[in-house]
Amino acid sequence: MNNKFILFIGLSICLALSPSCEKPGVLCGGNDPGKDLPWLKQEISRISSLTGCNSISRSSYKEQTVFIFSNCDPNIDSVPLLFDCDGKPLNLSVADYQELKFTGSIELIWKSQ
């Protein structure tokens, strides 16, 4: 009886803890991706030399962290460019762009002066 009761309690604890074993989503780049990610640091320095309003934001898209390069000039109609955590561009189709919605909070990382 005692052994069974101990087994029962043990299994109950394991069962209760099992869903919480999943790691919460962590965004790529940490708290300061402009410094932690070399490719992003390099891109920021490159874009900084360009004229116009440009911005880099971070959010989630299709279960991954993406970096959004966009023209922030309200008079220019353009589409944002998405890069993954390693700096590779995501090739989105026209349909993808027509339905483009991010699935996480959007955070501004860098914006041109």
Binding site: L7, S59, S60, S70, C72
Partner: protein, 428 residues
């Protein structure tokens, strides 16, 4: 002259012995068969062993009894030729049967009378009594008998031969022992109640039945249960929910049961981050992200009232006590109601901030999807019996998604505790 007389008597014995039939024994067996038909499952060795024992007994008894008339004749000769008769003869009517005294002495008959040439009647069992102790026979054995060369086995062996209490013919007494086993059984059925006698024989079988069906219940049980649990999914907050249902268990073997039923459960999910990929695919398309305005789903909620049909295998760890089990299986089901709510926000990249408080949409669906075996069930239970047919079970459980569930293909599971009230159906 004596030899001729002896031979005649011997022939008479043999003839009657061969013609003897005992209808009462057949009736006895039939009565036994009526009471206990052949359908009862007994091991093969039980029947073989019983048959062998009966055959051995019958053959032994037949052998003994077939020798007895010859021995009588032999002893008569001895008595006739030798004046030293080693036993006292009490002749009361020995004018026609001079060889009777030795037998009467052995069986303690006070009087023997059998008319020469008479056909010996079939003995009536009701006229006899079974000897209760072997002393009746043993008392007649004297050291003198043994010293005279009489084999003591002839006297001591027929311990279960009936002692005639009537003054029947000597030959009757001898012939009875031919079917003595049958007679003994018939007699025992009179002395000991037949039910008790056979119950003693069948006791091992009955005991095994009792041990396998200790609870006295059928292999079918029903349960009503209710439980509380937390839903979990990647990115979702854990919400406390409730469910209820019933289940039925069908015994497959000593340790395994097949368990199924119906479960009504509310599932709610709330995503503030890590919104599912297809979260808004059922919604009307809103303005997509542009270069200046980025659209994001800031909040996503789902509430599903599921009708679940589990198919599980239950392993009972201690079948005798039936108090602890582990269960695993798959669930299929549909959703009586699905409610999804989504909230959008526009992020202005020029401002670097959200430009509005969000716009919400909500959709509802009913019975639009059936998920076949997309949930893995794992649980274990601890039961406490409080009556012969009822017990309470505490059952922690985990339902883990194997694929997307519902019309939005959300991967969510649940983990909680059910409280079950079990009802076992009694055997009729």
């Amino acid at each position: 002259m004596k030899e001729t007389e002896d031979q005649r008597i011997t022939d008479k014995f043999r003839q009657v012995f061969e013609d003897f039939e005992d209808p009462s024994s057949e009736a006895g067996w039939k009565e036994l068969r009526k009471k206990y038909p052949e359908a009862s499952r007994k091991p093969l060795f039980f029947w073989v062993g019983s048959a062998a024992a009966i055959l051995l007994l019958l053959s032994g008894l037949w052998f003994l009894n077939s020798r007895l008339p010859r021995e009588i004749a032999g002893k008569k000769n001895l008595a006739g030729e030798d004046s030293k008769v080693p036993y006292q003869v009490i002749p009361q009517d020995t004018s026609e049967l001079t060889s009777a005294p030795p037998i009467t002495e052995r069986f303690k008959l006070n009087e023997v009378h059998a008319n020469r040439g008479d056909k010996l009647p079939v003995p009536d069992l009701n006229e006899f009594e079974i000897a209760k102790t072997p002393e009746n026979y043993m008392d007649t054995v004297s050291s003198e008998n043994i010293s005279q060369g009489y084999p003591s086995e002839n006297i001591t062996r027929p311990l279960i031969n009936p002692v005639l209490t009537t003054r029947s013919e000597l030959t009757e007494k001898q012939f009875i022992s031919r079917d003595s086993l049958i007679n003994a059984l018939a007699k025992m059925s009179l002395i000991v109640p037949l039910k008790d006698f056979t119950a003693t024989i069948l006791l091992p079988v009955e005991n095994s039945k009792l041990s396998s069906e200790k609870s006295g219940t059928k292999g079918l049980s029903f349960s009503l249960y209710a439980g509380s649990y937390f839903n979990y999914a990647a990115g979702s907050e854990s919400d406390l929910n409730f469910g209820a249902g019933f289940s039925s268990d069908i015994r497959l073997s000593r340790n395994f049961k097949f368990s199924t039923g119906l479960n009504l459960a509310k599932n709610s999910l709330r995503y503030d981050q890590d919104i599912p990929v297809n979260a808004d695919r059922s919604f009307q398309s809103s303005a997509p992200s542009g270069s200046v305005n980025l659209v994001t789903i800031s909040n996503y909620k789902a509430e599903l009232l599921s009708l679940d049909i589990p198919i599980n295998i239950k392993y009972i760890i201690s079948p005798d006590k039936n108090d602890f089990y582990i269960l695993a299986g798959l669930s299929s089901g549909t959703y009586l109601r699905e409610t999804y709510g989504v909230q959008y926000q526009n992020f202005n990249t020029a401002l670097g901030a959200y430009s509005n408080q969000g716009q919400g949409q909500q959709i509802k669906k009913q019975l639009q999807d059936f998920d076949l075996a997309r949930t893995l069930n794992v649980s274990f239970g601890f039961s406490m019996r409080f009556s012969k047919t009822q017990k309470i079970t505490i059952e922690p459980f985990l339902k883990h998604p194997l694929a997307g569930l519902g019309t939005e293909n959300l991967k969510f599971g649940s983990s909680g505790i059910n409280l079950k009230l079990n009802f076992n159906s009694l055997k009729k």
